[in-house]
């Protein structure tokens, strides 16, 4: 097949290139028309996925400088020094559209791709976190997708031997036609082994190793990843990529050996855009060019057209720049690991990517009679690709209809009236959104590597660093529920929660990676959501003093049923200097005091409670005070550092009542607390206003803890103590005020639920929602 055989007219349109872009391409080529091969290369490299043409301008506004940052946006992954000559590499990336087409392979190759971004830099991958989002768990298609995605993440990660230690699983109607699969990976490296994706040194060899090249994902970057997705579209079927985790494992070992032995000048993984992307990005970063010897590229099957070879997304391949005298050793390493390896070109000084058929002579010049099929400036494909200033327009009505399940109008079904808080708590704990994720994460190997101190299930993941007293702490969070109403707030809350989850272990967040999942950027309203999301991300990171070290943008997340709720997925890695000081969320011992730090503020919109019970139309999401958030995180790190804290949990999904229930269930210890009412019982018990912590401590430490909170300007209240076999929450005499009062609701009844009920409900909720359990 040749470009000309692709369906539909005219050629550049078929390849997703607009007339405006074709002009811009001519412009980059000194006025001439691109030939078919060149056009195919541009179509891939100028796709949204590879070029960031709609988001680049926004991303430039993000803070990227920070203590210890040695590689930031622009590299395959962010790298931050952690001392002792060690550094961590981390990055999150999406594989939404491929996973919607073929959930197992889509998710599996998503894991493979992000792992390559990590070991390309010289880091050994030590952890994966998967952030997954689907529609209605009762829907057969959702169940099919979720089952395939989870098997895919496990099938790949388990086999390569990288533990999956955390992630997210969120259900929201807006993902029904467009699930989200975001995967974060973390690697550990010796800083001296840091390797960049550049092809320096004209005359150096360009070496391709790993799997042979087949027809996988032809057009993937330009079609699969950039066109609005309608499921079961046959035109997308031929381009399904199949992952081979076994090959990836060999690739990891071979790549790290090449780097540790100093055998490569630069290394780049092959992802979207295949050989075209790898050669043009590495050449452009080094200010060089590359001449590609097309015939030298190992093929999996006969009859591939030049454009297929150049844009194929066959998985498990790497591209290295190698000094000629080191080639024999490089070949030996690859062959020992059973990987095909070939010299597929030379680094040149002319700044162009040239594609030659008919071979190169020993000096890397086209052999006599050889044909030059394409010649394009490397920069034109990458740093000088087209950039758009899209139009952003806020929606006319800033507040959608009531949250799902809400009454059409302010009615008697309003939560405060006749609410049985115990029943609501159990309903929340058993709901698909808040119940235990065990049924999913037990399909992952979370302990391979023998570093997992805290795996999935109870907050942030904790990995000790062998040979040191230190540990890495990681979390992913994304808030679409509030983002749907206010995309700035949704993004800021996502950063606040992800960093808070790290801080409450005692660890210091080091940096932020992010995956921005939004709709069609050519729709002003969708682009406004993206712009607001990036603004919220930047504001939150500045307030917390954290650099954004990398990430990924996934646009066109729309289906016939509409666009997804804006979803900024945030990944954070932190450092704990002494793993012995690690604090977890579970209550530790009877008699300990329970302390609530932070302030409960009104606003139920976007809460788990709202999806369950509905919410008044006029109600808004709770606000976020970024300075307050920064203070509370500084406070908890200091408190833990001073050994004052027995357990620490933040108030998030399900509010204070759910936070207390988790501390109790996980500790196997009940609690008796009294909470003052703010606004209404629903707000006090189930409201999700941010920047709040539930701590437990030895009773004798309580005063010091409270003093420290005051010194950080934080409201703090001793609300009860640990003990007994049940969670008991009494409503303080603070008295119902405001909305609740007008609606004639009194103080809600006390809540008393035995631990056994809490645990059983929480434990089985998800498996039941998915029909995996009766």
């Amino acid at each position: 097949m040749t470009v000309a055989d692709l369906p539909i007219e005219p050629l550049h349109h078929r390849l997703g290139v607009t007339d405006e872009e074709l002009d811009a391409i001519r412009d980059r080529l000194g006025g001439r028309d691109p030939n078919d091969l060149e056009l195919a290369m541009f179509s891939v490299m100028w796709s949204e996925h590879c070029s960031y043409k709609s988001s680049k301008a926004l991303l430039r506004t993000l803070p990227t400088a920070g203590e210890g940052v040695v590689a930031g946006p622009g590299e395959n992954a962010g790298v931050i020094s952690i001392g002792d000559g060690l550094a961590i590499a981390f990055k999150i990336e999406s594989h939404n559209h491929p996973s919607a087409v073929e959930p197992y392979q889509g998710a599996a190759t998503g894991v493979g791709g992000i792992l390559r971004d990590i070991f390309t830099m010289g880091a050994r991958p030590i952890a994966v976190l998967d952030a997954l989002r689907f529609g209605d768990p009762a829907d057969p298609r959702t169940r099919h997708l979720l089952d395939g995605v989870v098997r895919g993440v496990g099938g790949y990660g388990n086999c390569v031997g990288v533990p999956t230690v955390g992630g997210e699983l969120v259900f929201d109607p807006s993902y029904q036609g467009n699930p989200l699969v975001n995967v974060m990976a973390i690697g550990l490296l010796e800083e001296r082994h840091l390797t960049l994706a550049a092809a320096p040194g004209p005359g150096n060899l360009v070496v391709l190793f790993g799997s042979a090249t087949g027809r996988d994902g032809i057009g993937g970057a330009s079609v699969l990843a950039s066109a609005t997705f309608t499921h079961d579209d046959p035109s997308k079927r031929p381009s399904v990529q199949v992952g081979d985790p076994f090959a990836e494992k060999l690739l990891i070992e071979a790549s790290l050996e090449l780097i540790e032995r100093g055998l490569v000048e630069g290394l780049q993984d092959l992802g979207a855009g295949g050989i075209t992307c790898a050669t043009s990005e590495t050449a452009d970063r080094a200010g060089t060019g590359i001449v590609v010897d097309l015939d030298a590229i190992p093929r999996r099957e006969p009859g591939l057209a030049p454009f297929e070879v150049m844009i194929s997304e066959s998985q498990e391949r790497m591209c290295a720049a190698v000094r000629p005298d080191r080639w024999p050793e490089v070949r030996e390493v690859c062959q020992r690991w059973g990987l095909p390896v070939a010299i597929i070109g030379r680094v040149t000084a002319d700044g162009d990517i040239a594609i030659v058929q008919g071979g190169l002579d020993p000096d890397g010049r086209p052999a006599p009679g050889a044909l030059e099929l394409a010649r394009v400036p490397a920069a034109a494909l990458t740093s000088d690709a087209i950039v758009y200033e899209r139009v952003a327009t806020p929606p006319t009505h800033r507040r959608d209809a009531p949250a799902p399940g809400a009454p059409a109008s302010v009615s008697d079904r309003l939560p405060e009236r006749g609410m049985d808080p115990g029943a609501v708590l159990l309903a929340l704990l058993g709901s698909p959104g808040l119940s235990s994720r065990r049924a999913v994460y037990e399909q992952y190997d979370s302990t391979v590597g023998a570093d997992t101190v805290a795996g999935p299930g109870r907050g942030a993941a904790v990995l000790r660093i062998k040979g040191t007293s230190r540990a890495l702490v990681a979390s992913t969070d994304g808030n679409q529920a509030v983002g749907r109403f206010d995309p700035w707030l949704g993004a800021a809350l996502s950063v606040a929660e992800a960093t808070r989850n790290v801080s409450i272990t005692g660890a210091r967040p080091l940096g932020v990676t992010n995956c921005l999942n939004y709709g069609d950027p050519t729709r002003p309203e969708a682009f406004w959501q993206l712009a607001e999301g990036v603004r919220g991300l930047g504001d939150a990171c500045r307030a917390l003093g954290l650099p954004v070290t990398g990430g990924n943008v996934s646009l066109y997340n729309e289906s016939p049923t509409g666009a997804i709720a804006p979803t900024p997925e945030i990944g954070v890695v932190g450092l704990l200097d002494d793993v012995a000081t690690l604090v977890g969320p579970a209550f530790r011992q009877a008699g300990d005091a329970i302390v609530l730090v932070g302030e409960t503020t009104p606003g139920l919109a976007g809460s788990a409670y709202a999806t369950l019970a509905g919410v008044a139309i006029e109600d808004d999401p709770p606000g976020l005070d970024l300075a307050r958030e920064a203070a509370i995180q500084a406070f908890i790190r200091k408190a833990i550092g001073r050994g004052l804290v027995a357990s620490a949990q933040d108030v998030s999904g399900g509010g204070l009542a759910v936070a207390l229930a988790e501390c109790a269930m996980w500790g196997g210890l009940g609690a008796r607390v009294r909470v003052a009412q703010v606004g209404s019982p629903a707000v006090a018990l189930f409201g999700e206003s941010p920047s709040r912590l539930v701590l437990s401590c030895r009773a004798l430490h309580a005063p010091a803890l409270e003093l420290l909170a005051h010194q950080h300007g934080l409201p703090v209240e001793r609300i009860g103590s640990v003990g007994g076999g049940a969670l008991v929450i009494e409503s303080g005499a603070g008295g119902a005020t405001g909305a609740a009062e007008e609606r004639g609701s009194g103080v809600a009844d006390a809540l008393e639920v035995p631990l056994g009920n809490l645990r059983h409900t929480w434990d089985h909720g998800l498996a039941r929602a998915l029909g995996w359990e009766g």
Binding site: R151, G155, D244, L250, Q443, Y444, D445, T447, V453
Partner: protein, 262 residues
């Protein structure tokens, strides 16, 4: 002078480094043995680690069984050498016929990664003597094909001859049936680990090397690792055995056979 214990590295092994780490903590001199080498470099014991050798394609462990080093391992085992297979290593040993039985797909048809409790049936073996009697051992499993199978007669014989080394139990240490959640994969008679008749080759599905330090949630696995290291030290001290390279017949055959075909 620490005793040398070998850890075989197949392409796709992914617990080799964890195992080397645990062996070092137990006082051994761990050495990695590449699957293509023909000798065991004088190791006094050999561990086949967990992972996905050759991707576990076809059937877990079957392709690895034909790696060159497996001839040396088979010969070493035949002459009484200590061999321990963990998870994927157990699968390789079973495929190679060095321990009885087979490991089928988990009854759930899903990969299962979680902590389990196992009890040692015997504390007088080369692999368990350093375990303290009593309570169940907590350690992780992480596998998709760990359902232990052998026919009834074989199972009876294994129990009679004391070749059942570990069983899955509930957290209180009680034995459970194949359908009980404490049995993570549906293994017949809740068998988690077995030995060969001679008692020098053993395999188990759970991962002692991942439960060898309190910081990781359990140090129960260290007793198994230490048992192996101490037994290896004894073996090393004893007068050297005649190393008898006696690989199973079908392992000896290939060379000429290939020639005949070509």
């Amino acid at each position: 002078m620490p005793v040398r214990v070998g850890v075989v590295v197949f392409p796709g092994s992914n617990c080799d480094r964890d195992t080397l780490h645990a062996l070092a903590m137990a006082g051994a001199e761990p050495v990695a043995l590449w699957h293509e080498q023909a000798t065991l470099e004088g190791a006094a014991a050999v561990v086949l680690p967990g992972g996905f050798a050759y991707g576990d394609y076809l059937r877990a462990g079957v392709i690895a069984r034909f790696s060159p080093i497996m001839r040396a391992v088979a010969g070493f085992a035949a002459s009484g050498g200590l061999v321990l297979g963990i998870c994927n290593g157990f699968q390789v040993l079973a495929e190679a016929g060095l321990v009885p039985g087979a490991l089928l797909r988990n009854a759930s048809l899903r990969f299962t990664g979680r902590e389990v409790s196992i009890s040692a049936e015997r504390l007088d073996t080369a692999f368990t003597h350093a375990l303290v009697a009593g309570g169940p051992l907590r350690m992780p499993v992480a596998h998709g094909e760990g359902c232990y199978y052998a026919d009834e007669a074989t199972l009876d014989a294994l129990e009679r001859d004391g070749q059942v080394l570990f069983r899955y139990v509930d957290p209180s240490g009680e034995l459970v049936g194949p359908d009980h959640p404490a049995n993570p994969n549906g293994s017949l008679r809740a068998i988690a680990g077995v030995m060969n008749a001679a008692g020098n080759v053993a395999g188990l599905m759970p991962h002692p090397e991942r439960a060898a330090e309190a910081i990781l949630g359990s140090a129960d696995g260290m007793g198994i690792v230490r048992s192996l290291v101490e037994s290896a030290a004894k073996a090393a001290a004893a007068p050297a055995r005649p190393a008898r390279p006696a690989p199973p017949a079908e392992l000896a055959a290939p060379a000429q056979f290939g020639a005949a075909v070509s």
